[in-house]
Amino acid sequence: MSDDRSLDRKKAVPVIVGDPKDLLIVCGLAGASKDMAHLTNDGDNIFTMAGAMGGATAMGLGLALSRPDKKVLVVTGDGELLMNVGTLATVGILKPANLSILCVDNGHYGETGYQESHTQRGVNLELIAQGSAIPNTRTIDREEQIPEAKKILRDSNGTSFILLKVNTEPPPSIKRSMDATERKVAFRRALLGIA
């Protein structure tokens, strides 16, 4: 399975997401939060986690349902998504058109010593997303597919799910805020003008 993991997350994620300014972003713990905090300079349109594992997709779903006028992007990892993979089914029955999910799948639990995850041992999260009735899904494991991934995430009429298979190169290092209350207040102030 290792031959389809040649992409480096540090190069692929920024190209797929593009300019993040017009997005509302929720990130699962560990690598995905670092990928996106780095890309947004830990800005006020992103809420990252360093715990509450398994909650990112549901949190993004709540935000997408609350704000149908905004594009909401969930960025998570294979381990974080596996912890609450049933949330894809909850997304699938609602199919909010403004919700996109990017799963950065390195097949490992990078924060805890790079133990293999279930996706390294044959589990296919794109098929689970398809089976969960998410309308637009794609697996991306080659550089030439990246423009297509970007288009699906940005322009799909209906929820989209991109499984980005990457190697085990680490995410970018960034010192992000771990103060969830401060981040919540900043996010709401930027979006709603209130704390």
């Binding site: 549901a58 709540g62 905004k70």
Partner: protein, 175 residues
């Protein structure tokens, strides 16, 4: 024939009206007999978003996400669901998110299913251990004022509150 949860219709209707008049727009739940009226009203109401969950912890994170977007929400669950939520309550506590869950209790007054007892006994200590307030409603008359108090504590004081609809209130399911 009397329903398993007979007599709940009036206070459940009042509770739905109370939640709506307080601006609650997102209703998340795992199906539950004790919340039947509330769940059905949310499904029928075109003004609200009614979301069945695969597990209660999804609802905790969804309510936090909805707050980021400016939407008031409620999580409806049974006492057993509280156990499924514990680590996700860390998101609520760390972010000081306003949060209201209405919990129908099993495993206490007159319970006839032993499988409901452990989590029924665990609800109050568990939610309090995670930094949430725990308010109990024992009679139909207590339901609306208790939920109103929870909504005020949440949306005016950024608190997280579990309202327990006790088994004395909802009745024991026959086994």
């Amino acid at each position: 024939m009397m329903s398993e949860y007979g007599g709940q219709e009036t206070w459940q209707e009042d509770l739905y009206s109370l939640l709506r008049s307080n601006g609650v727009k997102l209703f998340c739940y795992v199906p539950d007999g004790g919340h039947k009226t509330l769940i059905n009203r949310s499904i029928e109401d075109p003004e609200v978003i009614s979301v069945p969950l695969t597990t209660e912890e999804e609802g905790v994170a969804m309510c936090a996400g909805a707050h980021l977007g400016g939407t008031k929400s409620v999580l409806l669950m049974q006492s057993s669901g509280v156990g499924n939520c514990v680590n996700m309550f860390a998101l609520i506590k760390n972010g000081q998110f306003p949060f209201v869950t209405v919990v129908t209790m099993r495993g206490e007054f007159g319970e006839m299913n032993p499988w409901q007892v452990p989590m029924g006994q665990g609800v109050q200590p568990v939610v309090e251990a995670m930094g949430m307030h725990c308010l109990r409603a024992e009679t139909p008359e207590e339901v609306s004022p208790t939920v109103q108090a929870a909504l005020d504590m949440a949306y005016k004081s950024n608190q997280s509150v579990a309202v327990l609809l006790t088994q004395k209130l909802i009745g024991a399911k026959p086994f």
